[in-house]
Symmetry: C2
Subunit: 329 residues, 2 copies
């Protein structure tokens, strides 16, 4: 039932080679013929079978993207970027969710390997030794994870952290808590790095945690921060910050009156919280697009010239209502 290249060839009165070339190497076929072929193909509704094409070219025209958890609002946005850019570059994308599970992640890469030209690993949970098991099975691009010799897009947080610190300092905060995320995560290291670089003599930083980067961890973190007597809290991410705010509300601590709160990520719900959360916005969608660019580049480049292996996106503090002038102690 599906129309093949043969059908088009017969209908157009040419050989299959000509039809094939009309699509893939247009300048090899006479203008007139090409027009005719293309027109016939259009009329018949022909679309090349990518599997068959892949069989001979070795390229599938697909790639995969693996995320740790779709229900974490951070990932769908980068996925959206990946998806959009992939479509522009005429690739289709396989999606997989590894449920925060590194073993599953390996299995997914291996399962995908044969049907994709490459895969994008988003905040990979794999240990270095686990990574070695998948390196080489297919082309890999990482998001928010640095791996030797592999293209990476990083969402730098240092700039945003500095902005956050300066913002709080300007509001008169002198003692601020930072709530750590998962110790192993690249993102957390990156945020801490930003913290160190933004050190000021007029501000004391109290590090707490690590905490799970989730809403549920917020209350515990909030209690610790209150006990530390800080006037502002910078949370590893928005989810955690939201949990903190929820607890503060329960304990009758007004935000930003008595406590200012800053998050990271600018997930959609950050702007919808009460009060709307001041946060550092990442360029998730851009990151997704950049990852695709890196992958396409990796695939098309001769291999001799490596191209750029690393793209770093900066971020931006978005001041909303959860931060205000420091409370008098």
């Amino acid at each position: 039932m599906p129309v093949t290249i043969q059908d088009v060839a017969r209908e157009a009165g040419v050989s299959v080679s000509t039809v094939s070339r009309a699509f893939t190497v247009p300048d090899l076929v006479k203008d007139e013929t090409r027009q005719h072929v293309l027109h016939t193909a259009e009329r018949l509704g022909y679309r090349p079978n990518r599997a068959a094409r892949g069989l001979i070219t070795g390229k599938t025209g697909n790639f995969g993207v693996i995320v740790p958890d779709l229900s974490n609002p951070f990932f769908p946005t980068v996925l959206k970027g990946v998806q959009a850019r992939a479509r522009e570059a005429d690739y289709a994308v396989f999606l997989a969710d590894c449920d925060e599970n590194a073993t599953e992640e390996i299995a997914l890469v291996q399962a995908m390997a044969k049907q994709v030209d490459g895969v994008i690993l988003c905040s990979s949970r794999m240990s270095p030794s686990q990574l070695e098991r998948v390196v080489g099975t297919t082309s890999l691009v990482f998001i928010n994870r640095q791996v030797r010799d592999h293209p990476t897009v990083l969402m730098g947080a240092a700039g945003g952290m500095r902005q956050a610190i300066d913002h709080l300092a300007a509001l008169g905060h002198r003692r601020v808590a930072f709530l750590n995320g998962p110790k192993a995560s690249w993102s957390n290291r990156e945020r801490r790095r930003g913290l160190r670089h933004s050190a000021r003599h007029d501000m004391e930083i109290v590090e707490l945690g690590p905490f799970a980067p989730r809403f549920e961890a917020g209350p515990h973190a909030a209690d610790l921060a209150i006990a530390e007597g800080v006037t502002a809290i910078i949370a590893f991410n928005d989810l955690l910050a939201l949990g903190v705010m929820s607890r503060l509300a329960d304990r009758g601590v007004s935000v930003p009156g008595e406590m200012s709160v800053v998050g990271f990520d600018d997930i959609p719900m950050a702007g919808m919280a009460t009060p709307p959360l001041t946060t550092v916005a990442m360029q998730n969608e851009r990151a997704g697009r950049a990852a695709v660019d890196l992958l396409v580049n990796l695939l098309t480049v001769s291999g001799a010239e490596a191209g750029d292996l690393r793209r770093e996106l900066d971020c931006q503090l978005i001041v909303r209502a959860s931060t205000g002038v420091a409370a008098r102690s």
Copy 2:
């Protein structure tokens, strides 16, 4: 470099047919031989090339799923269910986001058609006439959209609506606003249907809208509802409800003291709002899984027996802190 069936055959000292059969029709090959083949394949790290297999079987082992907008928090959860169930059934899934654009949606289905066995359309934005253009190009399963002769999983809202109404009635509310979502949406019709079925003589319903099902539409809706003098609001979805609550807070209307608010969907941020939102929880992940089941069924069944074409999931009111006893008027 990748290991093919030939390599395994040579290494195992058998023909390719035997290797193939060892995988696909195990009982046709002698136990001993099969073990040997399987073992050799394992040792060599052989994984069948699905493209080549698909070429001859006509099945790709993939399917697609198209969602209107990944940044709408409703969809990632159903995507998660799709993804998980697909993996269990040994299918890989292509993801596409049509950006709420029906034309794009058509193009995506057509582009996917050749490389999938079927596609799942999630809250399809296509008009009936547009739908006809894609019907037949591949097997289709719908989520939250009814299409003649096509398998569908519906997240019924009638039950949840009745629970919401009864809940509000029990709290003494006598005049309640319903904020309509998009008029064309199946979900909105479904919610209104629930509304009619739950009609009570002791409660008056004021219908407002339609409104865009987004946070930004909330303030406008809230103002209208206040003007109507209702004591409770049922919003088309959580996003809208959250926007309403935000406006109520700005206007100094206490929730639930002066106004109760109910949403639909139970998106993650519903529980994190202040106050946490009372809402009707849909079984998104289950819906995703069900859609895959329907599709697999559609693909494997002889065609003679249609199997069930329709799966309806019920929903559940989750009472949180945004609803309370009606204010004395």
